[in-house]
Point group: C2
Chain length 430, copies 2
Amino acid sequence: MVDIATRVYNHKWKIDPIVRSLIDTDFYKLLMCQSVFRHKPDTQVTFSLINRTKSIRLAELIDEGELREQLDHVRSLSLTRGESTWMRGNTFYGKRQMFTPEFMDWFEKLRLPPYHLEQRDGQYELTFEGSWPEVMLWEIPALSVLMELRSRAVLRTMDKFELQVLYARAMTKLWEKVEHLRQIPDLRIADFGTRRRHSFLWQDWCVQAMGEGLGEKFVGTSNCLIAKSRDLEAIGTNAHELPMVYAALAEDDAALAKAPYDVLSDWQEEHDGNLRIILPDTYGTEGFLRNAPDWLTSWTGIRIDSGDPAEGAESAIRWWQDRGEDPTKKLVIFSDGLDEAKITELSKQFRGRVRVSFGWGTLLTNDFRGLVEGDRLAPFSLVCKAVAANGRPTVKLSDNPLKAMGPAEQVERYKRVFGVGEQAEFALEV
Amino acid sequence: MVDIATRVYNHKWKIDPIVRSLIDTDFYKLLMCQSVFRHKPDTQVTFSLINRTKSIRLAELIDEGELREQLDHVRSLSLTRGESTWMRGNTFYGKRQMFTPEFMDWFEKLRLPPYHLEQRDGQYELTFEGSWPEVMLWEIPALSVLMELRSRAVLRTMDKFELQVLYARAMTKLWEKVEHLRQIPDLRIADFGTRRRHSFLWQDWCVQAMGEGLGEKFVGTSNCLIAKSRDLEAIGTNAHELPMVYAALAEDDAALAKAPYDVLSDWQEEHDGNLRIILPDTYGTEGFLRNAPDWLTSWTGIRIDSGDPAEGAESAIRWWQDRGEDPTKKLVIFSDGLDEAKITELSKQFRGRVRVSFGWGTLLTNDFRGLVEGDRLAPFSLVCKAVAANGRPTVKLSDNPLKAMGPAEQVERYKRVFGVGEQAEFALEV
């Protein structure tokens, strides 16, 4: 029986919107946004899309008109009443009223600012300029839109049967990973895959699969919309954009050296417990920890997001020990380049030595490797970063030179200020 | 949007019928039925369900009331106008009017005769008694009903998500087989999986997968309903029940020895070309070929349905050569215990030496091995056979003693008459 109304309804969509909600974004963006809204509301920031996988020529795959329609649709979104209620009324990390009434009043009125789009050398140049708390919210929807438009471009070439087999294989592949992971004792893992997801519906399925297969071991998702609709914990803390912008705003080398700690000092005013997580790699983990003020050692944990993850965790453990802290009480969050084998290995290596948690991204929500001919659905390395603040370029060094960003002379200056020497390269698969 | 009408419609079903059409059966049943209708319409035959996999206690898995409802539903079926049109008007094996007007007139009025159902030792005793052309049509629906009720009993214990993963894995598994098979040059393969299917919908999906993945290499399905709805060739010739009943009717040893050839003599009157396929193993392939009359050597091919398939094909090739026939013009159909590795191996071994074709059954339409805990959906060896004709027991020897049937003293008599000695056993997985 054909439901005519449903069919007509489906045909009414001029486009099938990829992002349908302002909270279809990572939880940490909202936390950071509130912090920025309080401390640096007037900073003018530029975000820019960067495709690190040059072999994928996005402007040849994705129609510009379609991309504009999707981005325009994102600009038409505002917070719904139910979403606002969830943000105001929900308990996040055990705390009520995580979002202040002042922030919520502002956020309820927000629409995302204009974007600037051009094509160059087969790639899209997509930038967002404006006040920091507004433009920063473009990062995740911009990435989701580009990732899913690329998926759609490939899926459009497949017929109904091929699509069914494709998703059957993708489900089977993910379920095998889940069955592996379920054997890890004391596993704690969250979905961090919004920005690189194959599609919204697929991420939503992956989250359900994790919940079904892992039970209590699955602790939540970074995606607020999915957390809300699936009644899960929203997970996340803070990201590189905070130290990158704070650093760019520094007036001299002394202020620059202090900037990463200023970020965390502001953060400490607002958050406690599991939200006090250090992200130490923006300008090199080693120097960051060596020069860290003592108050940082009391923080709950460290997130390892570049370089060799085991080495990063060993550095953190040594640092806590050197500073007289008990690492078994501390938390290490791994969030870079994870797959089930790496998760298993790291769990084993650090079991009993430190509390461990995983934020699983790309290879949770976009592992379509090997599923179509020519691997045209394999994930790729797309980011959207703050590249300038109040007219000055931002810089990122990271623990992997392939993730470094910024003008060469500034990179040299930052290396000198932060005492970063030779760094090992780690292939950027995703 | 909920389509209320569809939901109400779905709820109206007291049962969800497994067999919804009289032609949801194997094509060869209809061909044999017409032959029987012409030559032996009054023979009284008993068909009986036999579960060779004793470890699966069907009466404990399947509710008797549910089984009766399904069987009663089959008895309520009669040929629809569209089905009759298809049988009367379609071209089968290149021939129009395969089914005679006399047969069709009778078949249009047919309803299946009563069944007799009892429980014993955790198994169902299900028998059908009546005139041969009527009761023979119970075989396939009875098997489909039992197989699918067993699947449903297991599926009922699974939740929605587990079911989705189950079918994703089953699809992935089958698609991998199809991708293997697609590499075999000159492959010709048909679906023979109706009787052991996991379910009707699953068989229908498997057939589509074969068509999508194999193109011309997929030559059709034995299932008439699916052939009709998917516009495919209906495939099949004849089965053991013909020689078994003819043999049971034989008045003495001389007539018994002649019986398997009488069957084919009757068949030859009605059919030519690709329908002239010898099934030689009912009372041992070796003796059958040794004693075969010369007119049989002109037949198109031989179907190998028990014993070691390669040996069976080698015997056939030697037999044709000994009788002055060119084996490269002949057809060997393999239809027993096939999976993609065996199909690949046999294709390679006989390529260029004889034309080869495959009738793929259980491991096409019911390979759920390893997909649920305890392997509770693994296929098993269920058959429904003619066990008596005009009050005399039937006997089958086969090329595998594990497939033999009949009272011990009759088995001995048949072995003597057909000169069958020691036989090698082949594990009956499915």
